[in-house]
């Protein structure tokens, strides 16, 4: 296991370098010049070519792209994520301001969608063909068909404007209660909109495991029905669901862009889209790096988890 993990980790390094290079190249190819976003238009029109060149040189925005990429890479290896072009703030510090908001939101949503999804999925599998199953299936499909932002708006109309239960958007200011009060609705909306997928997945894997021979054997042995379902059916059905959750982990950082907008949540998603709009290379690169790292690490985690949960799988 350790050997496998180490080998995978080392294999990630070339992958990371290639992907970050591609992102850097992509930013270079974006239409427009980063200077447009650093100097107001009317003032920029008044500047001469020499002044603009001097400005770029001072900001380290000149020179061939490959050189700049390598120096970025070197900085990252020494733990320096660079400085935001707009305000010279260390990106790592900015990241520490934005990350908690997003992770708190996505994690809450992940918990909601996982618990609810598995619960409903298992119920629906155990009641296969009955009314409960049909209702849940149709409800899940409707859930998938409603765009996230519309669901958010419906919830705001109902819970904030009509019932006055929750504040409309933004993060709470200080105090656990205020934080939770603000967090609940966006997390609920994000969580519910992800539930349908988990539910469908856990239903089918539960059904799958219930048809296996060892479950039938357990039942034949005369074990109580709930014990059969939980110990033998559910435990094996968990593996694919865990895999699904593992693949969801990368979205912790950036899976909530729409919800962050609708609920005015000061998270990474909005920050990142703003950075793309203004071609703020150090921020795009850092968030991109984090995202890719999350992706690679979670796929590794999934591999390990599968091996731990499912005794038939051997890591190679």
């Amino acid at each position: 296991m350790l050997n496998f993990t180490l080998r995978k980790l080392i294999g990630m390094i070339p992958m990371l370098i290639i992907i970050t290079f591609l992102i850097y190249w992509g930013i270079e190819l974006m239409p427009g010049d980063v200077i447009d976003f650093l100097i107001p238009m009317d003032q920029l029109a008044e500047m001469s070519a020499e002044e603009i060149a001097a400005f770029k040189a001072a900001k380290g925005l000149d020179g061939p792209m490959i050189v700049r990429y390598l120096s970025w890479l070197k900085d990252v290896c020494t733990g320096n994520l660079g400085f935001s072009l707009q305000n010279n703030m260390p990106v790592s510090e900015l990241m520490m301001q934005k990350l908690p908001a997003t992770i708190e939101l996505s994690l809450a949503a992940l918990v909601i969608s996982t618990v609810l999804g598995i619960l409903l999925g298992v119920v629906s599998a155990l009641k296969k063909g009955k009314i409960a199953d049909n209702v849940l299936t149709v409800a899940g499909m409707i859930g998938v068909a409603i765009p996230q932002f519309l669901f958010g708006i419906f919830c705001i109309i109902l819970f904030c404007l009509t019932l006055n239960w929750f504040p409309v958007g933004q993060r709470g200011d200080g105090g656990l209660l205020s934080e939770l009060h603000h967090l609940f609705l966006p997390a609920f909306v994000l969580g519910i909109s992800q539930t349908a997928g988990v539910m469908r997945y856990s239903r089918s894997s539960m059904l799958d495991s219930m048809n296996r021979d060892y479950v039938k054997t357990a039942r034949a042995k005369g074990l109580p029905e709930w014990k059969v379902n939980m110990y033998h059916g559910f435990r094996v059905a968990c593996t694919p669901v865990m895999v699904l959750i593992g693949f969801r982990l990368p979205t912790l950082i950036s899976g909530a862009i729409v919800i962050e907008n609708i609920f005015q949540w000061p998270g990474v998603g909005r920050w990142f889209t703003d950075a793309i709009k203004t071609q703020n290379t150090p921020i795009i690169m850092s968030v991109g790096l984090f995202m890719v790292l999350m992706v690679l690490l979670s796929s590794l985690l999934v591999d390990i988890l599968t091996a731990v949960l499912d005794p038939r799988v051997k890591l190679s």
């Binding site: 239409p31 427009g32 447009d36 238009m41 003032q43 400005f55 305000n87 010279n88 703030m89 301001q97």
Partner: protein, 550 residues
Amino acid sequence: MKRIASLLLALCMVLALCACGGTPSGNNPSNPPANNSQSGGQPSGNEGVGGTAYPNPLQDVRVRQALWYAIDMDAIVDGLWSNTVIAAHKSLVPEGAWQADGLTEYKYDPEKAKELLAEAGWDGSYTLKAVYYTGNLLDTITAIKGYWEAVGVKMEFDLLTDNLTVLLWTPSPDGVKSGVDWDLCFAGTNALTLGELYNRHHSTANNNSTVLWDKDLDALIDKAKVAVTTEDQKAAYDAIQKYENENVETIPLFYIPSWIITSKHLDMKGNAPGNDQFCYQKNILDWTIDRADKTMYTNTGAVNALEHTATNPGLFWHQEIVFDRLLNADTSLTASDGMLAESYDVSDDGKVITFKLREGVKWHDGEPFTAEDVKWTFEYYCTVPGANTVLTDVINDASSIEVDGNTVTFTFNNPQPNALTVFSQWSVLPKHCLENVTPENFAADTFWQNPIGTGPFKVESVKLGEYTTLVRNNDYFKPGTGNIEKIYMYPSSDAGDENLITNAMADKIDYAFCKDSSQVQQVQDMAGFNVDTVNVTFPRYIFLNMFERS
């Protein structure tokens, strides 16, 4: 069966590819119907385009006038803007002291537009290419497109998002060929002085991408540049307005004001809301707030950083009240009395301005404020890339800035009509904090995470993108009578405050700057808020590119 199905699938895929490849023009409802009067290929005889006698139809003044007459601006302002903006029918300058008398009014008159187009020989074969760069003009442009179609003028439009300076304002290289690739640009200017509106129409202006080089217009603009007294300036700008009004160098659409929203909690003690783009005397230390925490909630907090003061002098709260300027301005932005300067004196020829500075003023970090700070600040501003040209035009003309004890003397080569405006708008910065910062890094320096000024409020804490708080400066040289101890600022950029409405709904806004007409319409429906339309207005207008596009 399976074979048929796979054939069908393949067919679908081919169809899909066709659909991606070309514009599905048959299904594109916004394509205007083809105009019937095609001029049969090449116009015979002359090199005119679209039936006119000119290589660029917009060079014909009758076409330009017709375009203006064809727009029902009153209906647009009423229908699309709920009358939150003011229609323009005459000039880039709004009605008031500075608008010239006797200008032709271009009221909606489609028949006249058709006549003028017919006179010009317009045959409808030319499609105007328009660009715009602010999203909130989309409905207006769509409406204008409709009005023009009704008189037989076709237009296509595109949103530009990048590289605006190059794509919009690259000047003509030779006075004949165009430096840009469009006929019309829907744009706007937030000008501090009328010069900012008209200087760009000069043949030597390096952002004139639209107005043909014209000696008569150049002469008028030059005259306005050197006018010193208010009367001379007024006369010069009247002449420019008349000339542009007859020749339709641009089509003014409407003046977009900005708004200040105040809550029932705030009492401004009779101070006018004034102008939200620039600095003026607000006497904020006299204001009272009816909240237990003695906090005033507002916007313009830091998103990425608190904005520096070299470009926009007073767009954000901190620029106005964390810093002081040498002079106070009244709500019409005319210098009124001294602020950091106890007194000031302008020589008779207007070339020498002397400031006697207040004694005992301290920066928020305790360092004393000195005349050296003043000299250094204005010299430094001129080296900052992107510094406002109103500021740099004045200061770059100074032959010397001399410090003597607590007096500072600016000596200029030429009379500077804008000098007092500059000293009432651009704040003085602490030399001891910034002298080691290169001008290129000025805007992004960490000083702007926690700026130090001399103003009535000082920065307490900044959490980027979440809040910025200011606290009362109890050592301020002019203590006030109000009770506001703290100012809590929600983040917003110069593009607007997207959280304004939710904050207002939560009763967490006492004084807010607002530039979005749709937000104003929303706040007007809420109880407990007062909306003031800021009396200084900025034009939105159409640039008409009269150079020849290749």
